[in-house]
């Protein structure tokens, strides 16, 4: 029995095809990159069988070890600093009435999202070069401060969203029930805010871990994070060792982003 299909108002011809191609396109290069990290040969294009050898060689590479440690130290410090600053800033911008200069403060916090990274990188290169000459200090705090700065807006976003979604009455109820400001914050605001803080910290961590441009310009001689180490290696003969390092970094980022997604889903309930 012939029966015509119901008219689907949402269909647009070709759109599904483009969309699905888009997903393939997004993931194909990454999947190939991961696959070739397990290549037994030295090529990143010719498959010669499965092997863990490049993971082992990356693990044993002293330069990679140092870069990994530096990356983790910087990402940890920067996400802690940025998240703490972002929590305070979010409290200041959501828990008080609209104030003179609020537009400026907002622009300032989001400024790292608007200004091209290369410009900030150059600015920091010049500024820190002056300080390095003046103080003689060439340690990792330049990198931590620089990373903290561009991580602030990423940490700020989910925290502010969480605060705005929170019922202001809860804090007033706590104050009404004899809670002093610090007690209100600790017993009512913070437990509610917690998923936002965690989400913000995770985003900040991922952003710090992934940064290339600013790190490349700010780092002192001999300092390398994983991304800047990889950037340097790309100029040479590329072996699947780079794929192996990339795969590990990808895994960390994906895990954190998926966890972030779960957290932001839970807040909607």
């Amino acid at each position: 029995m012939a029966r015509s299909r119901a008219f689907d108002v949402r269909r647009q011809s070709g759109f599904a095809f483009v969309a699905l191609s888009c997903f393939v396109l997004l993931y194909l290069p990454i999947i190939l990159l991961v696959v070739y990290s397990f290549n037994a040969g030295t090529s990143i294009a010719v498959w010669e069988g499965f092997s863990w050898q490049w993971y082992v060689s990356a693990w044993q590479n002293e330069k990679v070890q140092e870069a990994t440690i530096l990356s983790l130290i910087i990402a940890t410090c920067a996400s802690i600093v940025a998240t703490s600053a972002a929590v305070m800033a979010a409290l200041a911008t959501t828990r008080t009435s609209k104030f003179r200069g609020s537009g400026l403060v907002f622009a300032m916090i989001n400024q790292p999202l608007m200004i091209p990274e290369i410009v900030t990188a150059v600015a920091l290169l010049i500024f820190f070069a002056m300080i390095k000459v003046a103080t003689g200090y060439t340690g990792i705090w330049y990198l931590i401060i620089a990373h903290s700065a561009f991580c602030i807006p990423f940490a700020y976003m989910p925290i502010r969203a969480r605060l705005q979604g929170m019922d202001l009455n809860l804090e007033q109820a706590a104050a009404d029930l004899y809670g002093r400001p610090w007690q209100v914050f600790r017993r009512v605001t913070l437990p509610q805010l917690w998923p936002g803080v965690l989400a913000g910290a995770m985003l900040a961590f991922v952003i710090s871990l992934d940064d290339v441009v600013i790190t490349e310009f700010v780092k002192s001689a001999g300092q390398d994070t994983l991304p800047t180490y990889m950037l340097g290696q790309l100029r040479r003969v590329i072996t699947p060792e780079i794929n192996a390092i990339s795969t590990v970094l990808l895994a960390i980022s994906v895990a954190l982003v998926v966890a972030f997604y779960m957290l932001s889903q839970s807040k909607k309930q």
């Binding site: 007033q172 109820a173 706590a174 104050a175 029930l177 004899y178 809670g179 002093r180 017993r187 509610q192």
Partner: protein, 356 residues
Amino acid sequence: MIEISGLTKTFGSGDSAFTALKDVTVTIEENEFFTLLGPSGCGKTTLLRSIAGFVDPTTGSLTINGDDILSKAPFDRPVNTVFQSYALFPHMTVSENIGFGLEMQNRPKSEVQSIVQEMLELVQMTALADRMTSQISGGQQQRVALARALAPKPKVLLLDEPLSALDFKLRKEMQIELKRLQHETGITFVFVTHDQEEALTMSDRIAVMNGGRILQIGGPREIYDHPAERFVADFIGDTNFVSADLQSVEGEAAEIVLPSGKAIQARSVTGGATSGKVTIAVRPEHATLTAPGALIDGTLQNIVYFGTDTHYHIETDANSTFVIRRQNQPDAAESQKIGDKVGISFNPGVAQVLRD
């Protein structure tokens, strides 16, 4: 006893300034169920929040039992609030919510426990003590919010439209429940609502507010039977407004002459005019339908049957209508029909002269 005098609150400044409270003066007695009634934006919630400490009045004074509380933070004021949205802490259980205020006051653990137990019994929530507040119904949340605010035994309990989120039947139950709680605890209740019926059934006294001012304060019967201003008469129940000539005032008695030329005694209003053109208010159920030649004559325009009673709409002149409400009797046949000439009459003292 709460003494509020000359309280004014202006939000913003310059052109965008908005005055939410204008020179509000009122005394709320100990152990009283006091209601602030008015439409949204009338200032009733601002007044309540001024007492709670969430609004900082621009000028005026506010004392509780003689203590000036305006300079105190919300957590230093001996008042507790039941919020319109309940504002129960979602990350705490029912018991933890109820005990929160006591804990903040650093009461000993055993005392907190026993008071929480007592409160759970008072609002009949003992069985659900360990539930999270998101796992209980709206009516139960309402009870927990009440118990939480009552637990620290405040001098004054502030209630911000606490019943507005409940459905009709539950609201009726809670009205009786609230009255019972007020009676049992002996705490002064300050209750904010826009629902006139709620105000009339529960309150000892009502303050009717509009435009940031208190227009009239009085018991429910006083407010209903003898509204002082057009707004009060209009906001609470249905009313007929009739213009009249005021002849003389002697105490509560006012002699008025209606447009038909008939004279009758009405009730005077304090602070109103003593002679000249005035408006009087007559409740629909206080007037009766008679033959023409009564106090006011008109043409029957519409008859609306409501089950318990019937409304008669009478056109008294080109642009005014007078409504009479008559209680229905079983199987009574309708004797009037639309287009009939009819009369309206009411007893001396029923008509209320309005202030404006």
